[in-house]
């Protein structure tokens, strides 16, 4: 099946570019302001319609709100629109404001959606000598279509070049794959399986990115036109699961109304059943029926309804073990296509990806919303232009971007951390570190202690270590559940207990950075100094090796 076509938003006061694009660039989707889903060129109401694109900033905002999946913006420079529709400006001459309104819109776009590539549809001659070219130098995505104006082929090439550049940055529908071999293999398998009609099973510890994989990769690459619908089965009371999944007819139970379920809402799209291992026996039976013949029945109704959904099931427990234990139906497990399951590795097994993931999370943090607003406030206080992008660097910043700088010791600490919360934990930690560092830098400016390079914001190692220490606690249940479920069948109770104990000691060693006194404080009552020897002895009996774990700590 064909991959989903990129979506373009045209921002132009006139109709000319939109008309041309709709005539000749039909391989793309367009972010219109219209409720109808069919392409404009197939629409019977096309004549005279002005909902095809955005004509000013207010309409651009409207289109951005409606379409979160825009890939490229095509922006005109000159806007012959009335003064009340222009963005505020210090320029008093109306003609000048109209002539450069596109630049004002570009600045607004950077404020609200910094990551969006923009193609400015004008020429250098049209910009004139008075325009500060720094405006463009800061944004690697802006290209100028000057002598090629209205050349649909040239415009198409610019769009493709912009999209290719974006792909090169490592983002795939916003999903950060990283460079590890395990993820490369997974990427290939996910892309292939996304295009098939087969159901998919995604396994992985909590926080490894199962939902994001389902939405940003599987659904995005499936080519399916319907919606992505997710249900977290762990968050629903068992009694409501069936009604939520399959819908209800009036009178199905006291107070029940006619309501479509998630299967119907995902028609022609993708349905993610997260934590599928939590389904009760009865709900497993109903799901099996739906998977067997592609039909569902609303509660309280006898009529069956045909549904066309791509089903993705995700779980953080070993479903195979659940089947063996009799808690999950073998026939339902088989229907979930376990042979082609996608297993997301925990972050501790792909530490080479930590830097690129952190980079991606940093950019996402400051791309839009309130965190972007904080960054802009800092830029204004520091006398900087609104930053087009931010960069996470080790050692020192880079030119042309606002850089958050980590010391190499901080990177080591990140690599040594066991990341029990996986990618989600890393994302929160990076966001917190960057925002706290930004607040410190802002405060320094306000107190007249600003550094020489306002474009560089250091993230202190002490701050990062504090955040790392506070970012996770390993309750007993968190240790036991995955270990227990991962135990091979037939293991003795003694072996199981020893495995759990070994895992606990290993985690504590990593968490305390190899401090046996600190481990003793957490494990035993009494004098920690004295108990440290006992802990060390048991540590060795369990087959754990200090040198091996220290090398992990040092990355």
């Amino acid at each position: 099946m064909k991959a989903r076509a990129p979506k373009l938003l045209i921002v132009d006061d006139g109709e000319r570019y939109a008309e041309l694009a709709h005539a000749l660039l039909r391989d793309y989707r367009y972010a219109t302001r219209c409720e109808l889903s069919l392409p404009c060129w197939e629409c019977p109401r096309r004549e005279g319609c002005r909902l095809t694109h955005a004509h000013d900033w207010a309409e651009t905002e409207q289109a951005l709100r409606r379409h979160s999946d825009i890939d490229v913006v095509l922006l005109d420079l000159r806007f012959h629109i009335p003064v009340e529709r222009l963005l505020p400006s210090d320029e008093t001459r109306l003609a000048e404001r109209q002539r450069l309104e596109g630049l004002a819109i570009l600045r607004r776009l950077r404020r609200v959606r910094a990551e969006l590539p923009v193609i400015l549809m004008t020429s250098v001659e049209q910009l004139g000598p008075e325009v500060d070219e720094q405006v463009f130098a800061a944004d690697e995505f802006v290209s100028l279509a000057g002598a090629d104006a209205f050349d649909a082929r040239a415009l198409g090439l610019l769009i493709e070049r912009t999209l290719a550049r974006r792909r090169e940055l490592g983002a795939s529908h916003g999903y950060e794959w990283g460079e590890s071999p395990a993820m490369a293999r997974l990427r290939r398998d996910a892309s292939t399986l996304a295009r098939t009609s087969l159901p998919l099973l995604i396994l992985g510890e909590t926080g490894t990115g199962k939902s994001a994989l389902a939405e940003r990769v599987i659904h995005a690459e499936s080519g399916r036109k319907g919606s992505f619908v997710a249900v977290d089965l762990a968050a629903l009371p068992e009694t409501l699961v069936a009604a939520e999944l399959f819908g209800t007819a009036p009178g199905a139970y006291s107070g029940a109304m006619e309501r479509e379920g998630r299967f119907e809402r995902a028609e022609a799209g993708t349905l993610l059943l997260d934590e599928v291992g939590n389904l009760s026996a009865e709900n497993q039976r109903m799901l099996l029926l739906a998977l067997q013949d592609g039909r569902i029945t609303r509660l309280g109704e006898n009529v069956t309804r045909k549904v066309d959904v791509k089903l993705v099931a995700a779980s953080n427990v070993d479903l195979e073990a659940e089947v063996r234990a009799g808690r999950f139906r073998a026939d339902l497990y088989a229907r979930l296509n376990p042979a082609a399951r996608l297993t997301l590795p925990p972050l501790r097994q792909r530490k080479e990806d930590i830097e690129s993931l952190a980079q991606s999370f940093l950019r996402r943090t400051f791309a839009a919303g309130p965190d972007r607003a904080l960054l802009l406030e800092y830029a204004e206080a520091a006398g900087l232009d609104a930053p087009g992008r931010v960069q996470l660097c080790v050692g020192k910043g880079v030119e042309g971007a606002l850089s958050f700088v980590l010391a190499s010791a901080s990177l080591k600490a990140l690599r040594a951390h066991p990341w029990p919360g996986n990618i989600r934990e890393l994302e929160l930690l990076i966001k917190s570190a960057a925002l706290l560092a930004l607040a410190d830098a802002r405060e320094a400016i306000e107190r007249g202690r600003a550094g020489k390079e306002p474009n560089t914001i250091p993230i202190p190692t002490k701050l990062l270590r504090e955040l790392l220490q506070a970012s996770w606690v390993a309750p007993d249940t968190e240790v036991r559940t995955p270990v227990a479920s991962a135990m091979p069948r037939g293991k003795s109770l003694r072996a199981l207990a020893q495995g759990l104990e070994r895992d606990l000691f290993e985690r504590l060693f990593l968490e305390t950075h190899g401090d046996f006194v600190a481990m003793a404080e957490r494990l035993l009552e009494g004098d920690a100094e004295e108990n440290a020897r006992r802990v060390r002895l048991r540590f060795n009996q369990l087959g754990l090796r200090v040198r091996e774990l220290r090398s992990r700590l040092e990355g």
Binding site: E19, L20, A23, L24, W41, F150, R153
Partner: protein
Amino acid sequence: MSPDVANDDLAAHARRLLHDVGKYIARTARNVAEGQLPPDVLRPLLLQDLYALDGTHKASALFHERALPLRAVRDDARLDRVEALLARADAIEADVRAGEDHAVLEALAICREVESTLRALAADGGGEA
């Protein structure tokens, strides 16, 4: 008015003429190879380029209005040439609307020449005052 100011004005008028008439009129022609007929999907666009350039006015009328400030300070033969080309486009309007191949090809050629002539004028800064 000093010569520099007059030249700045000329350049601005020439740029506007290129933008409002030259750039827009060549929209369809730029996407069709010389000597080729446009696909059906582009024919309505060609009619707009020539006969409803700003939504209502013909390209010839718009050019006449936009060229007035330039003509007031300098009479450039290239302005006369563009005026003549657009008058010819108006003369063959009925045939272009009827989709006559020869008329459509001539209309495309007119669009290309108008654009290149006005681009050259703008590059010269509208000529010397």
